[in-house]
Symmetry: C2
Subunit: 327 residues, 2 copies
């Protein structure tokens, strides 16, 4: 008896899920669902492709649907719609809109008696868990989240929209001095500029005004204006050769004090160094898909986040085996 998974949406994340399922013998990929013409989509593993409009016809075949759409416009519609008919899981990552998304999804999931797990991945996701554990264990303290070194898709896109830019890749990089400060237990307020720098690799059209482009990048509000930003102009070949990966990572550090007079310092650090952001995110999602399935089997329903999932639900191993081998 394997857990039958459907993938809704077949971009980088969907492909990552497809690969991750292969690494979990208790799971089976039933098929990919796409808004594109199914015939035009070739999957990595050769699994069947169906049109997203037909998914209800496969209702009895699917234990969990992993929704791999974007947070801006796809997930706010897809997750509530599918949660009425399937156990679902998404990686909704617009932090400010999570409460609203939760409520919409919760209603639908309860109506259908399904589990709908939202905002799963590493941030939100594993980083959120570490912020929560840190806050509960060291209540008198502070947490610091640093991202990178890694590619920010949103910032790369913002550069690409500038006139004269052919392609671009942006890396978010934590500032070493800030990391060291926090690791040494200094409780401090760090400005945006003190925490991260932004490094851009830009390919421009022939004859484009590099000075203007660099200026436009560095002064772009929200994206770059508040950071120390470096801009490197490179050739299309160099971009392809040196910057085609999608690495990422980061740090959640909790610094806190204990003792009758708060005389003892403690540092809890969680860090990720990822060769492939979408594949790691997919791997987290697949583990939580197992949890969604098991929680549903236990008669639970409604919207859940990583905060609501007892860790044992993530594992294919029995509670006895977990206690014996991992506790």
């Amino acid at each position: 008896m394997t857990i039958k998974i459907g993938i809704m949406g077949y971009g980088n994340l969907g492909k990552g899920v497809e690969c991750a399922i292969k690494q979990n013998p208790d799971m089976e990929l039933y098929g990919v669902f796409t808004r594109r013409e199914p015939d035009t989509v070739k999957t990595l593993t050769g699994v069947n492709v169906y049109h997203s409009d037909d998914i209800l016809n496969h209702k009895d075949k699917l234990d969990v649907v992993i929704i791999c759409g974007g947070s801006a416009t796809d997930l706010p519609v897809q997750t509530p719609a599918l949660a009425e008919n399937f156990n679902v899981i998404d990686s909704f990552d617009t932090h400010a809109k999570i409460p609203e998304h939760f409520n919409n999804v919760d209603d639908a999931a309860k109506k259908g008696g399904n589990i709908a797990m939202i905002s799963v991945g590493w941030d939100p996701g594993m980083f959120s868990l570490n912020r929560l554990y840190g806050d509960c264990i060291l209540p008198e303290g502070k947490d610091y989240t640093f991202w990178g070194k890694g590619v920010s898709q949103g910032h790369s896109d913002a550069i690409r929209r500038i006139d004269g830019v052919k392609d671009a890749r942006q890396y978010t990089i934590p500032v070493d001095e800030a990391l060291e400060k926090v690791r040494n237990g200094e409780i401090c307020e760090l400005s945006t500029r003190e925490k991260h720098i932004r490094e851009c690799f830009v390919v421009v059209e022939d004859g484009a005004d590099r000075q203007r482009i660099e200026q436009e990048i560095k002064t772009m509000p929200n994206y770059f204006a508040d950071y120390d930003t470096t801009v490197n102009f490179i050739s299309e070949e160099e971009l392809k050769r040196d910057h085609s990966g999608i690495p990422h990572g980061g740090f959640v550090i909790r610094s806190g004090v204990t003792g009758l007079n708060k005389e003892h310092k403690h540092i809890v650090e969680y860090s990720l160094k990822l060769d492939s952001n979408p594949e790691f995110t997919a791997s987290v999602i697949v583990a939580y898909a197992r949890a969604a399935y098991k929680m549903s089997k236990d008669g639970l329903s409604g919207c859940k986040t990583v905060f609501d999932v007892a860790p044992a639900y993530l594992s294919a191993k029995s509670p006895e085996e977990l206690r014996k081998t991992m506790l």
Copy 2:
């Protein structure tokens, strides 16, 4: 409405719990229970002290009893006995005997309709959680646990039992080269000797044979023979001045691969740097005491470990607030 806590056993861990409760406004320390004559025990905060034999007389006053005894002889008896009458929590850390302890405690807790949380702290505890999350998220990988730099009570005690030794302090220290290997994603088998070194500070009696003592330490089976061990003879004053703290810490590192051809590496690292081992352990326990209380209020019962506790149970904050501020 605060959560009323009782502490059973008043050593370093009990004192740590006493301090930690002060940092959690939703909790209140009702009293300390001891096998000693209560009049002879002076608490850090002045809280009431009762004899452990009288604890049943306080049954209605206590929401959770935190059992701060030792794993060798105290907890195997105390935790099952108390679980019949109270929600309890312990830090049972004899890894090999956890399954047996679980079964004994589970029967008692179910009989009493209580929650009994066992093996809470950082190892077992937070380190176990990180081993589990790592195993579920990156199933094709390997985890590595390193301890230290920190004081090992058991190893310090072993040295003290040697003839001619007045006092001793032993530090467990991870080997940097091994840590770096693992952090670089090399999947490797590391021997005991390759992972940790042991550093001993020893105070001897006047005229004691230092060479014999050093030899006895370095060749002691299980404790030191499998490690590179250094022995430093120091004065009683130096031991007191430089080695009176109880720091500890360590690392859980998961290294794994993803991708269609397993071409992408990922490193997940969790680390602790603790000024006070017992106070940090106590802080973890107090957070899980809250979870025990909340799970009991939800009608749950039986023996639980950190694997069975949804993270939101640890927090005094509402699920809405957690989603809004920490996800």
